[in-house]
Symmetry: C2
Subunit: 210 residues, 2 copies
């Protein structure tokens, strides 16, 4: 059950949703569930669920179904939520502040250890229990604390340079809320883009073409 190297990106992308649903089931006292029942709750087909979970060796037993807590723990391990990664947040404007306050980093296997901004006026203010640090001190901080992930809430114009600096500091994973497409310049970097404007435009398309 530990090898999962050839899993398609689309299966990976569905795993957090399984993880969420199984967590809710566990919280509401459900200890086992059939693929049919799980499929109904998640608006998937039972065969889709069996196919997805079989990618990881298959957790179900014919005629019994899935053991909710066990399956959730396995998916959690695959997602790596049990292994803490250090994250820093760059840009403490409205969006950065909201993410620092709103996101449960720990639940996703991350720990927010630093927040940076170029605005001297908010420097040393506290956010999510951390002091906001001058971005000029990024090199010093990364050398000492070795973050794994940078959360980018910076304007597009400055993001390219910041990414270049961070890659030089050995940060190789980005949760990118900026409009700068990191992979255009850096192919070998792990990027999870959240382009909120693109998402709203996709909704706009749906509304216009319904």
């Amino acid at each position: 059950m530990s090898k999962h190297s050839n899993i398609s990106a689309s299966v990976i992308r569905r795993l957090p949703r399984y993880y969420r649903f199984l967590g809710e089931l566990a919280d509401s006292g459900v200890s086992k569930i059939s693929s049919r029942e799980l499929a109904e709750r998640m608006s998937l087909t039972a065969s889709q669920i069996r196919q997805d979970l079989n990618c990881f060796g298959g957790f179900g037993q014919q005629g019994y179904g899935y053991h909710v807590a066990e399956l959730r723990a396995e998916i959690g391990k695959i997602l790596g939520v049990d292994r803490s990664k250090k994250a820093i947040l760059i840009g403490a404007g409205h969006l950065g502040t909201a993410l620092a306050m709103h996101i449960n980093f720990q639940k996703s296997g991350c720990k927010l250890i630093g927040i940076f901004d170029s605005n001297k006026q908010i420097e040393r203010q506290e956010l999510a229990g951390l002091k906001i640090t001058d971005i000029a001190l990024l090199e010093q901080f990364c050398a000492a604390d070795k973050p794994d992930i940078a959360v980018l809430c910076t304007p597009k114009a400055v993001t390219k340079d910041i990414v270049q600096r961070l890659i030089g500091l050995n940060v190789r994973s980005f949760w990118n809320f900026s409009h700068y497409d990191i992979n255009v310049d850096h192919e070998d970097i792990i990027v999870e883009n959240v382009h909120l404007g693109d998402s709203l435009m996709t909704l706009s398309y749906g509304v216009n073409n319904k």
Copy 2:
């Protein structure tokens, strides 16, 4: 060029990115571009770009390339950014506030016309030029102002009921930041989900399996 009913979801999902890149090209004074050049800038292949754009009738001319402003305008029309839709935001906590302040709704063909919250303490405070309204007045507001889209920044526990109310008020499109999966209960509703926690978990997987 006006019919685009059988376009796959994955092509639709790429359109906002084309729209962004073409906007940047236009802003930097580029008036025409070959599919090869555009492909390089976007980390796609030229044939992928030609295939995508051919879905809409094809805008390029052999040996000339694409007319940047024209192509951008056409994609904008397809995305419906030229037709204004009325949006309301439910939940003016950290995330709702960040979206109200940070998102350029107009750029995506939307106009934010109301913000609602159940917290009496923030009622009548201003956010993005709008007074925060008591959620109890939702029915009255929707009857008068007929919003098309609701942006949901509410805790999961209350979102199901709010969605039920909004559907009853003829709101049929949701930009959903809550953890409630709307389509599980309402199949025929247009939903664009932004599950930030899922996105961070997907990044966590990438970091663990690099």
